[in-house]
Amino acid sequence: MINSNILSLKNSRRLNTLIIGVFAWTVALLIFFPILWMILTSFKTEIDAFATPPQLFFTPTLENYALINERSDYFHFAWNSVVVSFGSTIIGMLIAVPAAYSMAFFETRRTKSTLLWMLSTKMLPPVGVLVPIYLLFKDFGLLDTRTGLTVIYTLINLPIMVWMAYTYFKEIPKEVLEAARMDGATVAQEIYRVLLPMSKGGLASTVLLSLILSWNEAFWSLNLTASAAAPLTALIASYSSPEGLFWAKLSAVSTLACAPILIFGWISQKQLVRGLSFGAVK
């Protein structure tokens, strides 16, 4: 009797796992489907890419990739993406960590409203400030420069970075820092030797999120760059055509643009998940 009960419990657990597994895979496939379709389309001819009903099975071709290789300097655009994404993330973190530290551990009555105000800047439609920023960039000679794009990406992502870092720091008991202070640690040592190691997971996900957001940003990169500092998002836009079929070529260039960040995300998925769920369960 006991054995059969244990068996049925095991079976129901297996069934649960199976149902959860199937559900998780379905959701994952649904989310991944647009990317999969983009990759498949990149190996089609332009006529196959537009076929109705859409074709799942087709003769693959590399002609779109060959054409992109012939027409565009992919690595020039990719290098610009790498420089501005990593540059803005590094600068952003250098500002966000001390800001979040002071807000989390030396809270005043204005801290919450300051944080909310910072976040509210994200709600402003970017096009609303396009002309003033364009004029500023023109006056400072920052148009079509990687420096200019790095500055703007840093400013765009800073509110989210401060918020995330603040949330992670809030999880750390003040007493730990006080103990470090009692042992004679300076502020810099306190942050570097105690705070950062303890919130490693959370900060890693902040870095990753900032990288992904910078890599994918299109509005400012299209408006503030021309040729010298144009990142991969500008390369993608250049393959859309008002007169002529372009979906297969656009899919190929999008695949090439997404590939580095997809691979990077895949490698660092553990840190990303750990960071995002940091402090979720107390």
Binding site: R71, K138, L143, A226, A237, S238, S241, P242, G244
Partner: protein
């Protein structure tokens, strides 16, 4: 040791020389769109730089709407990021009048500006001054499937009427076989459905504005046009026609799903190209349909190259623009990519070339359509604006985009034609009042 020093000195001298040479070259930054002809121009960069070693070309290829936004921002803020801009017939006279563009004067004698079609030249001018040189130009025409017409015992006239087109569409429409009677633009946009619908409305006797700039959407002519359009495309067109623009219809036609298609003459080279069309050898050409009048049946558009006033390399930019729009450039394209790929619609000499006329089966109708398009006189009743498929006023782009959304909504069935037209009338009147055309 001495040898090494001499060698280093030579290398350093070489580097300095190449540096100073590189510095001497003027960089011309060109903003353009990703059209086949533009990409071909980009691929001939080396040829230009070889002939003009003191000029270096830098290309910025952008999506059409992004390019427009970029160019407008750059010009309005005097950003000076572009030395050459690819603009259309809509922008050239407006921007020229505002003093944003350099006048195309004192062109080289061998450029032969009189060889350029007068209608194209006029469309790119304001108050008699030319502000951009045409890279390629287009009108619109009817594409039809000769094989399906023969199978059904139909015959396409040189210029059909819309009533005839409806009759053909009824016979050719076999959705169960994946074949639709007609494909037309339905996607909302001033350059998408409204470009097509404006030409259609011209032939129904409509116009955008009367002589006092009052819109006429609630009038009989516009009502007839849009009812006819919604009935024709809704009943004999492909499913989801309200999201089809030029590219979607091109794909449908090339895959053999459309019996007829009315669109830009530039599509002639795409539908007859066996690499991208399954029906390349089965396509016939006719003029764009007429109805109560033939006036304004085919549109007139040109992608042209202009030099902004803010450019700091005007002289080098002019050298490039005159090269890219010259007879010499056409010859170079004929040599490198085949004669049928010469940028169409700009020069009379292209159409006087027998080899071109033989190689491009669509050329004869293109020439006929281009010759009959007149931006000054494209409506049955007099009009206060210039332009066949648009009104060359700064407000048009925003107004036509809104009207386009309303008519696309009527086509999709989300509102009645009458309601769409009443709203179009309201929106247009409001915008024109705001722009102080009247109180």
């Amino acid at each position: 040791m001495i040898k090494n020093k001499v060698l280093s000195a030579l290398v350093a001298a070489g580097m300095l020389t190449s540096l100073s040479l590189a510095e001497a070259a003027t960089t011309v930054t060109i903003g353009t769109v990703n059209n086949g002809d533009m990409i071909r121009m980009q691929s001939l960069t080396n040829e230009f730089e070889k002939a003009h070693p003191d000029i270096k070309l830098d290309w910025v290829v952008l999506e059409e709407n992004v390019l427009r936004q970029r160019l407008t921002t750059d010009i309005a803020t005097k950003g000076g990021q572009f030395d050459v801009m690819t603009i259309g017939m809509y922008e050239a006279p407006i921007w020229g009048k505002k003093g944003w563009l350099t006048a195309m004067e004192q062109l080289p004698a061998d450029y032969d500006i009189n060889d350029v079609f007068p209608a194209v030249r006029d469309g790119l001018s304001a108050d008699g001054t030319l502000y951009a040189l045409p890279f390629y130009a287009e009108s619109s025409m009817t594409y039809y499937r000769k094989d399906l017409f023969a199978e059904n015992g139909l015959s396409m006239p040189g210029q059909p009427t819309w009533d005839q087109i409806k009759g053909f569409a009824q016979k050719l429409h076999k959705p169960e076989q994946g074949q639709y009677g007609i494909c037309l633009r339905g996607k909302a946009g001033w350059g998408e459905n409204m470009a097509f619908l404006t030409t259609m409305s011209n032939t129904f006797g409509a116009r955008w504005f009367d002589e006092k700039w009052q819109p006429e959407f609630t009038g009989e002519a516009w009502t007839n046009t849009v009812n006819f359009y919604v009935d024709l495309l809704g009943n004999y067109g492909p499913p989801g026609a309200s999201s089809n623009g030029f590219n979607e219809n091109l794909a449908l036609f090339n895959s053999g799903k459309c019996g007829m298609w009315m669109d830009a003459t530039v599509a002639g080279s795409f539908v007859t190209d066996s690499k991208q069309s399954k029906v390349a050898d089965k396509v016939g050409f006719a003029l764009a349909p007429s109805q109560v009048t033939t006036k304004g049946a085919g549109w007139l558009w040109s992608w042209a190259l202009a030099i902004p006033e803010t450019s700091d390399a005007k002289s080098a930019a002019k050298t490039f623009v005159t090269w890219a729009t010259s007879k010499e450039y056409s010859g170079l394209v004929a040599k490198t990519s085949g004669i049928a790929n010469i940028p169409p619609g700009t020069r009379k000499s292209t159409y006087a070339n027998h080899k071109y006329m033989e190689a491009a089966p669509f050329a004869e109708k293109t020439l006929e359509a281009m010759s009959s398009a007149d931006p000054e006189n494209s409506t049955l009743k007099p009009k206060p604006y210039v332009g066949v498929q648009f009104a060359a006023i700064p407000e048009f782009q925003a107004i036509a985009t809104q009207v386009g959304k309303l008519i696309s909504g009527a086509l999709a069935g989300s509102m009645s034609v009458d309601k769409a037209l009443a709203s179009a009338q309201k929106v247009t009147t409001r915008e024109m009042k705001r722009a102080r055309y009247y109180k």
